[in-house]
């Protein structure tokens, strides 16, 4: 009996070792919300990774080995954990790419870190993802702090010059929905505004489920606010623009933090003429000057050819850029062990303005990309066009909001 057990054990070991020896492909996990409420943009994000991987496989793969993508469907944080476990322990992937949503990324990265599998985040913006001292979590995209800083900096670098005034003479008001998202961004904005010595006169949180923002608008109006920074979802963005018009509040500029500001539906609901001139900070969108984002037009064409529609948002582009950065790093690593990959990622040095998103890549010890600052965009004639920095701009920044 004892002998049998030993033989059986040996056989099992041999069997389980065999696939590892025979491995000719590089396996990567693609962890995104493919179903459920986040599926639309989760899938859009995945398409960026898919295009990057297909492109590389067409060129012979990663150092001659084809890349095999294994999907994991992360509907919610629980399932993200489950799927990350499956990818790391059953499929034994060399790395995981993901995730679009911050709560999913926070959950899944913990699993990958414990399993010692590199986790490449290409789209979630919550800061703590790369602030927990993880060894194998890396992120290419900007964080909410980068968004907040760009919004505040836009006041002194873009809005004030366009108005021809001293930035310190402008009265700034911050309004934000009061969940974690709005709180986080607004917190960074307040800090940055203080550092920059801007005149911050109001900070007003409100519930995203509010059915009346008139009190908020009247507060801004009576404080004589010139520039409004808003961090919001979709409904509250629509309500704000509609009621701003109703109350005749005409600030010199309104700057949004992605979210509701980037969606065409929002503009449709508000009316393009009422949202004309609204500024927005977000992942790079397609109306950006290719001089600052080389390859953006090629990506758009490739996307159209494969999926038959133009890209639905900038998420695919951000994922495409990030996937390429990390695949390059994996290709240059001496082997595909987690430590070798980390070493290679730390050596990555891509200058800004050389990728399709315009972002560079240089990672700090925490694995966060430090060469990213999102562009400033503006709704002009029903299109979201990049207006700042100058090199990336395709149109000139206009002042004023709405038809006034």
């Amino acid at each position: 009996m004892k002998l049998f057990a030993k033989v059986a054990l040996a056989t099992t070991l041999a069997l389980s070792a065999a696939p590892a020896l025979a491995q000719e492909t590089v396996k990567i996990g693609a962890l995104y919300p493919f179903s459920g409420g986040l599926a639309l943009l989760g899938d859009e994000s995945f398409r960026g990774l898919e295009l990057a991987v297909e492109e590389r496989n067409a060129k012979g793969g990663l150092n001659g080995k084809p890349i095999q993508m294994i999907r994991g469907d992360a509907v919610d944080p629980n399932q993200a954990v489950g799927e990350a476990r499956r990818l790391t322990s059953v499929d034994k992937v060399n790395a995981i790419f993901g995730t679009y949503s911050s709560s999913l990324a926070i959950a899944a990265t913990q699993v990958a870190e414990l399993a010692g599998v590199p986790y490449f985040e290409l789209g979630a913006i919550s800061d703590p993802i790369t602030e927990r001292g993880f060894q194998y979590t890396f992120r290419t995209n900007p964080t909410s702090k980068d968004f907040a800083n760009r919004m505040v900096d836009a006041i002194s670098d873009a809005v004030a010059p366009a108005l021809g005034v001293d930035p310190k003479s402008l009265k700034v008001g911050i309004i934000h929905e009061d969940s974690l998202y709005g709180q986080t961004v607004a917190g960074f904005q307040q800090k940055r505004a203080q550092e920059k010595g801007l005149n911050l006169v109001e900070t007003l949180p409100y519930s995203a489920k509010s059915v009346d923002l008139t009190p908020v608008i009247l507060r801004l109006k009576s404080a004589g606010v010139d520039v409004v920074l808003q961090t919001s979802y979709q409904n509250d963005t629509v309500l704000f623009f509609r009621q701003m018009k109703d109350q005749g509040f005409k600030p010199k500029a309104v700057i949004g933090a992605g979210g509701g500001y980037s969606l065409r539906d929002t503009v449709q609901a508000v009316g393009p003429e009422n949202m004309e001139g609204a500024l927005n900070v977000d992942f790079t969108q397609y109306r950006t000057n290719p001089a600052a984002a080389p390859g953006i037009d090629a990506f758009e064409k490739k996307y159209q050819a494969k999926y038959g529609t133009p890209p639905r948002s900038g998420h695919s582009l951000a994922n495409y850029m990030g996937a390429n950065v990390f695949l390059d790093a994996m290709a240059s690593a001496k082997d595909l062990s987690a430590d070798a990959i980390r070493e290679a990622v730390m050596k990555v040095d891509v200058p800004e303005g050389t990728t399709p998103t315009g972002w560079g890549a240089k990672f700090n010890e925490q694995g966060q990309n430090t060469r990213v600052s999102p562009f400033l965009m503006q709704w002009q004639g029903g299109e979201l066009v990049t207006v700042f920095p100058e090199k990336a701009a395709v149109a000139k920044l206009k002042t004023g909001v709405g038809a006034n």
């Binding site: 519930s207 489920k209 059915v211 009346d212 309500l239």
Partner: protein, 290 residues
């Protein structure tokens, strides 16, 4: 001072919006004795219906009010007949489970059909603001205010003067006595639930020009409506109307003078105080009637 008056005006108009929604909730609660947890989702269904009529047939939201009120009446009556009626003998919380279940099902059905995107109807005429003496009002809000007044007055007239209204009041007062007097109580319930839902139908036609519709739009309004109903004394239509006005004004003033994110705190504090000191609500009929 200017701002104060504007805020009061705004609060009254906001209140009339809450009033139309709350009156329906009060009717259902007061007569059928069911807490309609799917009330917000009825509103959502109504708003999608308004959207569909506007997008496909070009109906103005106010014109769609007629078919939508009929549609919601039918929907309410069907819910009463096929969901609540079989559960009338069961425990009250079974009915609550049924309504919460219905609400979840409707939200997810909307997600399935329409997705999470928002839809809106473009009616610039309703969104026109009128200015007088430095204050601004939207035409749509003004219409809502008069509709709220007309609704309460109309229901009052109906309840007090028609035989059906009398039967409804009898059923609400004492179900068994009404049964003995030959009132067909189950039919009264079906009709009353339908009537409550029809109020929401009216609300959805009036709200659609002002708010875009999403699957979760109901939750934006209905929590406040519950506060209004309790504040008004659970079963009193006039109480609901007055409660709605109070909440509207408190909402508007506290959003400005305290902080926009604390306005819920203020009116829930009022809510708790009322529950402590006058558990039957401002216009309640006394202990034991709730």
């Amino acid at each position: 001072m200017d701002v104060f008056v504007q805020l009061i005006l705004n609060g009254i108009l906001l209140g009339s919006m809450y009033a139309i929604i709350s009156v329906g909730l009060t009717l259902i609660f007061g007569i059928v004795r069911v807490v309609n947890f799917a009330h917000g989702e009825f509103l959502m269904v109504g708003m999608y219906a308004v959207y569909l009529l506007a997008a496909n047939l070009g109906f103005h939201p106010y014109v769609s009010a007629v078919p939508i009120v009929i549609l919601l009446f039918a929907m309410g009556a069907l819910v009463q007949r096929f969901i609540i009626q079989p559960l009338l003998g069961a425990d009250e919380h079974i009915q609550i489970f049924a309504m919460v279940g219905l609400s979840t099902a409707l939200v997810n059905l909307a997600l399935l059909i329409f997705g999470a995107d928002l839809y809106s109807v473009n009616t610039p005429s309703v969104r026109q603001s009128i200015a007088f003496g430095g204050y601004t009002l939207l035409i749509g809000q003004l219409v809502m205010f008069f509709c709220a007044l007309a609704l309460v007055a109309g229901l009052h007239f109906f309840m007090q003067t028609t035989p059906l209204g009398r039967a409804i009041r009898a059923t609400a007062q004492n179900r068994n006595a009404a049964l003995l007097m030959g009132v067909r109580v189950n039919r009264i319930y079906i009709f009353s639930f339908g009537l409550g839902a029809a109020c929401v139908g009216l609300a959805s036609a009036l709200l659609m020009p002002l708010y875009p519709v999403t699957p979760t739009i109901g939750t934006y309004f209905v929590l406040t409506a519950f506060v209004v109903v309790v504040l008004g004394g659970m079963r009193s239509m006039y109480g609901a109307f007055a409660g709605a006005m109070i909440i509207g004004i408190v909402d508007s003033l506290s959003g400005y003078y305290i902080a926009p994110d604390l306005k819920e705190v203020v009116y829930f504090a009022i809510f708790i105080l009322i529950l402590i000191f006058k558990p039957t609500g401002l216009f309640g009929l006394g202990r034991g009637t709730e």
